[in-house]
Amino acid sequence: MLPEKITREMFDKLVSLAALELDEEESEYLRTELNHQLAAVKELSEIPIDEDIAPSLHGIDCQGNPPRPDEWQPFPDPDAILALAPETRGRYFVVPEIAQLSQEGK
């Protein structure tokens, strides 16, 4: 039985998973809106669907490009990509160290 509403506890966990942090006012506002949206999508579960209705990943039947040939085409300016970074050291992107995480996957 799925929860009808997102509790404060579930919400805080979700915020953490999303790599966000919110102040009290934002939290309450967003949690309220989330629950309104969940109410709005509640009807989805009640729509009767035949077994043979497949999921549509794209509305139309995508007739797109076939896979490309295996040919090297270097990007002309990798330095321009590095130059976008807020912090670099030499040719590396810099991030702070990772604290001991109890859950995260590789």
Partner: protein, 533 residues
Amino acid sequence: MNSTALSALEIARRVRAGELSASQVLEEHLAQITAVDGISGQLDPPALTPLEEQKVHAFIQVTADLARLQAEQVEAKLTHGEDPGPLAGVPVSIKDIFCVQGTTTTAGSRILYNFRPPYTATTVARLEQAGALILGKTNLDEFTYGSSSESSAFQPHPNNPWNTQHVTGGSSGGSAAAVAAHETPLSLGTDTGGSIRQPSAFCGVVGLKPTYGRTSRYGLIAFGSSLDCPGPLARTVSDAALMLQVLAGNDPKDSTSAIQPVPDYLAALAEGVRGLRIGISPDYDHIAYPDTKTGEMGIQAIQPEMNQAVREVAQVLASLGAEIVENVPMPNARHGIPTYFVISRVEAASNLHRFDGVKYGYRTQKPVQDLTELYRVTRAEGFGLQPKLRILMGMYVSAAAHSAHYYQKALRVRSLIRADFERAFDSSGPYRLDALLTPTTPTTAFRRKEVLGDSVLMQYSDQMTVGANHAGIPAISIPAGLDPQGLPIGVQFFGNDFREDLILRVAYAYEQATLQAEWRQVIPQALRAAEVK
């Protein structure tokens, strides 16, 4: 005559014929921007004077230098007897969700406030190759999340040129406003749930969502990857067709880009509607709206002028020889928004994962203990409320425990929505439609701040447009009158896969038959103030 009064077709014709210089076109449009736009959207705007409050504020960034270079290139080509392209000298504005090298691309968000991409979106590159002058980046809802353009981190947000106390709609609000206010005759927008068509309707311009894959998504900062479609906004149907001709076509950089050949959209325009079957559906004369406490779905009437406009448009088309097919059932239209809430949010949350302060854009200045804190604080400070809401919703409904219930189910309901359109357009089916006519929106442009805090109500502005995104089919919104408040009314034509040519043709027929209508002679408030025509 000032070139801001001309259509794109006419500007291009005159520039190519040497009757008008690209530089003159450019300067006249820049002057118009100066006259009507006011200050550009920015992160820390000053308090607005009453005069500024009445400006359009369509732009985040005006790229005059870039445009001048492009105008020079057009002129050089003409001097050397080279073809300057089908859009030679035509000013175009670009929704600031498209990466354009040489500009900042902000997506209306602080988290990309300084992002200067080292590449240009395919759709924009095609415009440039066609000789267009890129005048600037237009403002939008943050990351295209919204239907009013109010949520941009760059304020002031765009105002509706017809009444600056009202919203432009969104998320391509700046684009629609720029076109309506004669700042550029053409604008490049995106449509994920209605983001081209809804603001086009609110601002009294033409907006086309092409078939999914018809225009390349390369360089478009993604919202809903299976829903996003770049498309044209213009003041006339033929201008929209001209722009679509330049944008459309396969792109090897986009795996979902369609391989279907591109027809000649302009050539087909004037073929008329005699014998075409145009449907009307009872499922599109109201909206199904949920009680946000109980989830109970109820029926809500839409603004009566909308249904009135649909009837009038149908009458005009009938008088031109079209066959109007009433009572076409579209029973799954009512599921459009709930389905959209789920699918678009799952894709959006994932698409926003990459914004973390490490590789580009905003990074928090606060000292942080570790990597996780860097991510959290950067994203908390960099994202506005709308992205945060989308991320949380998306993560919730795609969580392993909920995915089958919400996401997988929504993908299957999408098939039902698609099936409604397939049945309507099936050439051996019961309706055999060439186009389906509906209102574009449930209401005309609402007032500023009227809807912004209510995310459900805001999303429901898209109920009539979103079906095309789920089904992948093309749809166009065209102006069909003004309501008693003087605000534009839009009607919409849905078409079959890759039949942009047909819906353009139907729209064109209506437009041409009503050129002299009184409501078409009314000038938007923002233009009256600037006294330009």
